[in-house]
């Protein structure tokens, strides 16, 4: 009954919205799947089969209803070298391996690590993704017939202009149809999708990747698969977060990880490349009224039907039309607000965001960008918390005893400052250091205190430490602050 209820809620609660949005998404997926195949350096059919397999499998196995997954640019960028050096078959094997790794990641609950990915890193990720998608279009814009440029501009005008007149038809589709029609009628000689490689003419079939199944192969594909797994999961979790926020409903990230894994395994065996969730497409899906699992399933099915039965026509689509659609996707994915925010947000946050973008764009690897962002935000945080340290001094009336009261966080980032707060040149009989309201987080902190004691002793000063037990509890009982009754005093400075 509970299962039945869940099935009804996930699949059938918004059937009409899901059916229509599934169609809109399928139409938007076709140009993307083709474009991303070309980025990876494989035939368009590889991306189209992948998009079909992934969308359909995720509809059943995913943890976030309403999210769209298919072949993506972020993943395609990571495959270029593997495809160029070893060929398609190795890519298929790497795709299957990526899926296996993602299933393992799902069982290891790696999604929990997402809490270390700060908002600024997410913004950086999204911006970097948009820039990468845009940069990937440049080869289609450089060294091409002049007619391409007006076609791209015209396409963009239709894409952004038509919704002002009517929102009932997908404007990217109209742009593609109009540009294709124009190029055929006027006989404009521009590169078309058909020039770029083989399109699907049949349903995908199950095939084992044609590779030597040995350790050497594994060593070739493993590094690629590990990166693909990371980037795929990152983008999927981020997209799931976005969809959670948009629909105000929760999702199961661990199930999503396993679902992505299964989808990639199926994709690999049916001749598709690895993919993941797509931010732009998911936003389009939600915008078009898609909320349930049905929209992803229908998007996959519609996509395959259209491509297989209209393959002659798909082949004649000018690349200029695809470029226009992809420029729209990159504009829609980019967070333009973040540019205005640069002026008002804290400098450290902006640094994290920009660091993520720069490293990603330079390496074409979102995993490296996110790692940079996470490290930068951790450093920024440590620096800030290191400032939550106050040392008060108090001298007895007779001038014989000096009391230092330490309040705040002592750890590697604040150990030096802690040390500099003590006046070793002062001549007193005893020094009392009250650390009851301080936290000693690590060995650097303890080391700093040891040095303070030693230095005073060498000056012939008697040192007394108060409240060391409380202060070092964080060191012993790992990370146990909340149970301290005075916890708010420690932080509320």
């Amino acid at each position: 009954m509970l299962l039945l209820h869940r099935i009804r809620r996930d699949w059938f609660s918004s059937l009409r919205g899901d059916a229509l949005s599934g169609l809109v998404v399928a139409l938007a997926l076709i140009p993307e799947a083709i474009a991303f195949s070309l980025i990876a350096g494989v035939d368009p059919k590889v991306g189209l089969y992948a998009s079909f397999c992934i969308a359909v499998v995720i509809a059943f196995a995913g943890g976030r209803p309403g999210m769209i997954s298919a072949a993506t640019g972020a993943m395609a960028l990571l495959m270029i070298t593997l495809v160029r050096d070893h060929g398609l078959q190795y890519l298929l094997a790497a795709t299957v391996l990526t899926g296996l790794l993602q299933i393992v990641a799902g069982y290891l609950r790696l999604a929990d690590l997402m809490r270390f990915v700060s908002r600024s890193v997410v913004t950086g990720f999204v911006n970097a993704l948009a820039i990468l998608i845009f940069l990937a279009q440049l080869p289609e814009l450089i060294d091409v017939p002049l007619a391409v440029y007006p076609m791209v501009v015209g396409g963009l005008l239709i894409i952004y202009g038509l919704p002002r007149l009517t929102r009932v038809v997908p404007s990217p589709l109209i742009a593609i149809v109009v540009l294709t029609g124009l190029s055929l009628v006027l006989g404009i000689d521009v590169p078309t999708v058909g020039d770029k490689g083989q399109l699907p003419d049949a349903l995908p079939v199950f095939l084992l990747p044609d590779i030597p199944w040995n350790l050497e192969t594994l060593m070739i594909i493993l590094p690629v698969s590990v990166t693909l797994m990371t980037v795929g999961l990152l983008e999927s979790f981020l997209t799931a977060q976005i969809v959670d926020e948009l629909t105000d409903t929760p999702s199961d990230k661990h199930r999503e990880a396993k679902g992505q894994g299964l989808a990639n395994i199926v994709s690999g065996f049916f001749g598709g490349m690895a993919g993941c969730a797509m931010i732009g497409q998911s936003v389009i899906n939600i915008k078009s009224g898609g909320r349930g699992r049905m929209s992803a399933l229908l998007a996959g099915v519609f996509l395959l039907l259209m491509v297989v039965f209209l393959d002659d026509w798909v082949g004649r689509i000018p690349m200029a039309a695809l470029v226009a659609v992809m420029i729209m996707v990159s504009i829609g994915t980019f967070s333009w607000q973040s540019i205005a925010d640069l002026r008002v947000h804290p400098k450290t946050s902006s640094l994290v965001m920009l660091g993520t973008v720069v490293v990603t764009v330079a390496t074409h690897d979102l995993a490296k960008g996110v790692l940079t962002g996470v490290l930068l935000s951790a450093l920024g945080f440590a620096r800030k918390v290191g400032q939550v340290l106050v040392v008060d001094r108090f001298l007895d009336e007779d001038g014989a005893r000096r009391t230092y009261t330490v309040t705040g966080q002592v750890f590697f980032a604040s150990a030096d400052r802690f040390l500099s707060e003590f006046d070793f040149r002062e001549v007193v009989e005893t020094v009392r250091i009250d650390v009851t309201r301080a936290h000693f987080w690590d060995l650097s902190a303890v080391g700093a205190l040891d040095r303070v004691i030693l230095k005073f002793r060498r000056e012939g000063v008697e040192v007394e430490i108060l409240g060391m037990d409380e202060a070092s509890r964080t060191l012993v009982d790992r990370l146990g602050v909340a149970d301290r009754p005075d916890a708010e005093n420690l932080l509320g400075h």
């Binding site: 009954m1 509970l2 209820h5 809620r9 609660s13 918004s14 919205g17 229509l20 949005s21 809109v24 998404v25 139409l27 938007a28 894409i159 952004y160 038509l162 919704p163 009517t166 929102r167 009932v168 038809v169 997908p170 404007s171 990217p172 589709l173 976005i242 926020e245 948009l246 629909t247 105000d248 409903t249 931010i279 732009g280 936003v283 389009i284 939600i286 915008k287 078009s288 009224g289 909320r291 729209m328 996707v329 504009i331 829609g332 994915t333 980019f334 967070s335 333009w336 607000q337």
Partner: protein, 297 residues
């Protein structure tokens, strides 16, 4: 917090409120009436609860343009949030009006200090969060989203029964005064608990009491004797009815024949596995009986 009396491992709430769980369905009136009746008998405070539920029904306007412009995501978020906010405000106002009406009705029926309360759904979760201060939940047999024409239980009812640990009074569409009640008894721990509860609670004191047993209970006559003894000690004059046959059929027949006004039974079977099976005696009786059923965990 509710204090509980521990008696032979049974936990029976002895204070807390009576909570009438209302929505915009035809069952509201009888739910309020039965809740008022219980509140009167238990001299417990009555709370009328409305749970705002089901966000999935909300959807944005028609936009199949499939294009995403600058900051598409944050614009869409603003749009959807505004839409949700508008609908939530309407639902909240409707709910408040409904609660005011319910409280007035309860007060007229002599309920003890009716208070109204609104919470965000889903319903089962809202109820489990509130159950600490509650002695008895009163729910309609079918909710607003259920189809009245079929013998279909409210989608939420079954989930509520599974997740809530307090007694639940499931009300039919029409209220009638309670004179005679029956306990569905099979000698199991759950039905023994029902007997204990009847004995300890002022809810049914002084009413005509029947003990209905289908087939032969595992511990035979001994279990029935125990129940009769307990009930007599509590001042009841129980009449026993033992009959062979399917539990649901026997109980339903007897309820009709004896003109019973309230049926008391354990909520779902005793084992985990049996609880999973839809179509247990409880579900069948819930579906078919036209009288209120008091379910006990």
């Amino acid at each position: 917090m509710t204090s509980t009396t521990k008696d032979a491992n049974y936990e029976i709430p002895v204070d807390g409120t009576v909570m009438a769980c209302l929505d915009v369905s035809q069952y509201n009136r009888s739910v309020v009436d039965y809740a008022a009746w219980a509140s009167r008998r238990l001299t417990a405070e009555l709370q009328c609860l409305h749970v705002l539920d089901d966000k999935t029904r909300r959807s944005a306007g028609v936009d199949f343009s499939g294009s995403i412009g600058m900051d598409a995501q944050s614009h869409l978020l603003d749009e959807l949030a505004e839409l949700d906010a508008r609908q939530a405000r309407i639902e909240m106002q409707q709910g408040r009006a409904m609660l005011a009406e319910a409280c007035a009705r309860a007060e007229a029926a002599g309920a003890h200090r009716p208070v109204s309360l609104q919470r965000q759904g889903p319903l089962p979760r809202a109820l489990t969060e509130l159950e600490d201060g509650v002695r008895l939940f009163v729910l309609g047999k079918r909710g607003e989203s259920a189809d009245i024409n079929r013998d279909h239980l409210g989608a939420n009812l079954e989930r509520v029964v599974r997740s809530v640990h307090r007694p639940i009074l499931v009300s039919p569409r029409a209220y009638r005064d309670v004179q005679r009640f029956a306990i569905a008894f099979d000698g199991s721990a759950t039905t023994r608990k029902c007997v204990e509860m009847v004995c300890m609670s002022p809810l049914l004191a002084g009413l005509s009491c029947h003990l209905v047993t289908a087939g032969s209970p595992p511990d035979g006559q001994a279990g029935i004797d125990w129940a009769v003894e307990r009930l007599q000690a509590a001042g009841f004059d129980p009449q026993t009815h033992v009959e062979s046959g399917d539990a649901d059929r026997v109980i339903a027949d007897r309820v009709e024949q004896l003109d019973i006004d309230l049926l008391i039974m354990g909520a779902y079977g005793h084992s985990r596995i049996r609880r999973m099976i839809v179509g247990s005696t409880t579900t069948t009786l819930l579906r078919n009986c036209r009288i209120p059923i008091l379910l006990l965990r």
